[in-house]
């Protein structure tokens, strides 16, 4: 009898423990999935559309129905689309896109900004990697928070994965999980799974708005050879050459290199946006130690400071493709590089294609951002509510 009671007690304790863990995990999961990021657009943002306005492939109000921030000068010129958040485990993309959206003034041409190109992928982190769910930046008005995510859309929104992912329309076989990776889905598929449909809807935006060039912002582990670089479609080789040479000569301490977009690897923005529209496509990478496989503790501190003793040690042994020292790759430097590259791309493209010129103001310089990012994110409590958007 006593033995039976003990067994029931153990079962009850186990049940309570499991239910408790499920409740906590469920709460944390829900908090992450439903968290709304705040974007306070600049006073010069002329319109904010939803991605579903461009294609029925994305249902209005669904998880990947992201905001499209539009800055139309009203003066004839070029049209540029900036993409952040393609890979939500690379936090600089949405941070840089957000910062530009909050400060931009366009005096010629038009600029479109998407800060969360695959929002579903920002609602879940990589299973088993102990990533943080959020990251925060302290400002003088309070804390600004972003979701941290992963490369692939959440299984809740895209399931099941096929045995083999066959890229549309090339027919190339890719890893099955990459059907949820928007940067393996371009130019998208109208009736595909969520990431394919999202890429298709963005392509519709590009085609219907007459976008002249695009820039997709990423980060990469230091163990990866395509690092601190700009990858360019062949339509943009000349522009990318000037951008990278100028930034290396005048602005960056660590050079930014250039790569040609390979024609044989499909689904990447720098390849298939350029192939399937009139737009010229570019992609940029900056070093992110948090993504390295050899990293140690994976927390928000590493994300923001970009310092990891194991990655630094690997650098000492010459095992990495990007330099790293005791200063690491802090978030200020990574965001500053992407913002400066965006500015230089617009300037250079306008110089080389005067009929598609875009003139912009208000974006902080590389050195200003190196000093601090905080002053360049606006306080949502002190602006007109019409400037506040959630994504």
């Amino acid at each position: 009898m006593n033995k039976k009671m003990n067994l029931n007690t153990v079962k009850a304790i186990a049940l309570v423990t499991v239910v408790f863990c499920m409740a906590v995990a469920g709460y944390l999961f829900r908090e992450h999935r439903t968290f709304k990021e705040t974007v306070v657009v600049s006073d010069y943002c002329t319109e904010v559309k939803k991605l579903s306005d461009y294609s029925t492939a994305i249902k209005p109000g669904s998880v990947n129905d992201c905001n499209v921030y539009i800055y139309d000068s009203g003066v004839e010129g070029g049209t540029f689309l900036l993409l952040g958040g393609s890979h939500p485990e690379e936090p600089v993309g949405p941070m840089a896109a957000d910062l530009i959206a909050e400060n931009l003034k366009v005096t010629q041409g038009r600029v479109f900004i998407i800060t969360r190109a695959n929002k579903s992928a920002s609602t879940i982190t990589r299973v088993g990697e102990a990533y943080p769910r959020f990251f925060n930046l302290d400002t003088n008005w309070g804390t600004k928070t972003w979701r941290f995510g992963q490369r692939h859309a959440a299984e809740l929104d895209s399931w099941p994965d096929p045995e083999v992912y066959i890229h549309y329309p090339s027919g190339q076989n890719l890893a099955n999980v990459d059907i949820r990776n928007i940067n393996r889905n371009w130019p998208g598929k109208e009736d595909g799974l969520i990431s394919e449909r999202t890429a298709f809807a963005i392509m519709e935006l590009i085609r219907n708005e007459g976008v002249d060039y695009t820039l997709d912002m990423h980060e990469a582990e230091l163990e990866y050879s395509v690092e601190n670089t700009m990858v360019a479609h062949e339509k943009g080789h000349d522009v990318a050459s000037i951008v990278t040479m100028t930034l290396t000569a005048e602005t960056f301490d660590v050079p930014i290199s250039m790569e040609f977009s390979p024609k044989a690897l499909r689904g990447l923005s720098h390849r298939d946006i350029g192939d399937h529209s009139d737009a010229t496509s570019f992609l940029i990478e900056v070093a992110e130690p948090m993504l390295d496989r050899i990293r140690g503790i994976t927390d928000e501190k590493l994300l923001m400071e970009g310092k990891d003793i194991f990655v630094i040690k690997a650098g000492e042994h010459g095992l990495l493709y990007a330099p790293i020292d005791e200063n690491g790759w802090p978030i200020e430097k990574r965001v500053a590089r992407h913002v400066a590259t965006t500015t230089k791309l617009i300037e250079t493209y306008s110089m080389m294609h005067p009929d598609q010129a875009i003139a912009i103001e208000g974006i902080p310089t590389y050195n200003q951002l190196l000093e601090s990012l905080a002053p360049y994110y606006r306080d949502p409590n002190t602006v007109d509510s019409s400037l506040i958007y959630f994504d």
Partner: protein, 211 residues
């Protein structure tokens, strides 16, 4: 007596310098192109078959190509065209496709895995193509310049080194940026092989050594 001896030494030194300078003059009757050192033999490169006279600057019109499908050639082509100089860039250029009137063939060193994969080539095929190209350029009296303008990012692996070694072996002059030569590799090589070295701070500055 000591003064006389010192003066004699100085005269000998001046004469020897003049002799070095003279060695870069065109020599159309030198060994034929086919006898040049193999691309992958950097330690003992053969002298270029018919080196054009190097005047201290790279003279346009240029033909530019990459040995390894990296963007360096595109960069130099853009720099040249921005400087209002005639330049043609073709990363698949073959010996029979060098534009007529070209005075300087520039071959950039360092490889791109993505670039070579996209072009369906590899470093051995690139070396074979560029060596043949250099031989044809020499035979036509052009100056062949090996250039490394993408910094240490293009000096990371065996493919990069093979490209560098192979092109140095057929170069009459070398153009590098400071970062590419941060360990003195190109300086040492050019000194050891008496090849003129043009060094600029950044790729964007390459226009300063073109005319």
């Amino acid at each position: 007596m000591k003064k006389l001896f010192a003066m004699l030494l100085a005269v000998v030194m001046v004469l020897s310098m003049a002799a070095c300078g003279g060695s870069s003059a065109p020599a159309a009757t030198e060994a034929p192109a086919a006898t040049q050192a193999p691309a992958a033999a950097p330690a003992a490169p053969a002298a270029p078959a018919a080196a054009a006279e190097f005047t201290g600057k790279l003279v346009a019109p240029f033909a530019v190509t990459s040995c390894g499908q990296s963007p360096g050639a595109t960069m130099l082509n853009v720099v040249a065209t921005q400087a209002q100089l005639t330049s043609v860039c073709d990363n698949a250029m073959t010996a029979d496709a060098i534009p007529e009137g070209t005075k300087t063939l520039i071959i950039t060193m360092g490889t791109s895995g993505k670039g070579m994969g996209a072009a369906g080539t590899d470093v051995d095929m690139e070396l074979a193509r560029c060596t043949e190209l250099a031989n044809a350029a020499h035979a036509a009296g052009m100056l062949v310049v090996g250039a490394h303008v993408e910094g240490m990012a293009r000096r990371t692996d065996a493919n990069d080194q093979a490209s560098i070694d192979g092109i140095l072996a057929v170069s009459d002059a070398v153009l590098v940026i400071d970062d590419s030569d941060s360990d003195g590799f190109f300086t040492d090589y050019c000194e050891a092989h008496s090849i003129p070295l043009l060094k600029v701070p950044k790729a964007l500055d390459a226009g300063s050594v073109m005319e």
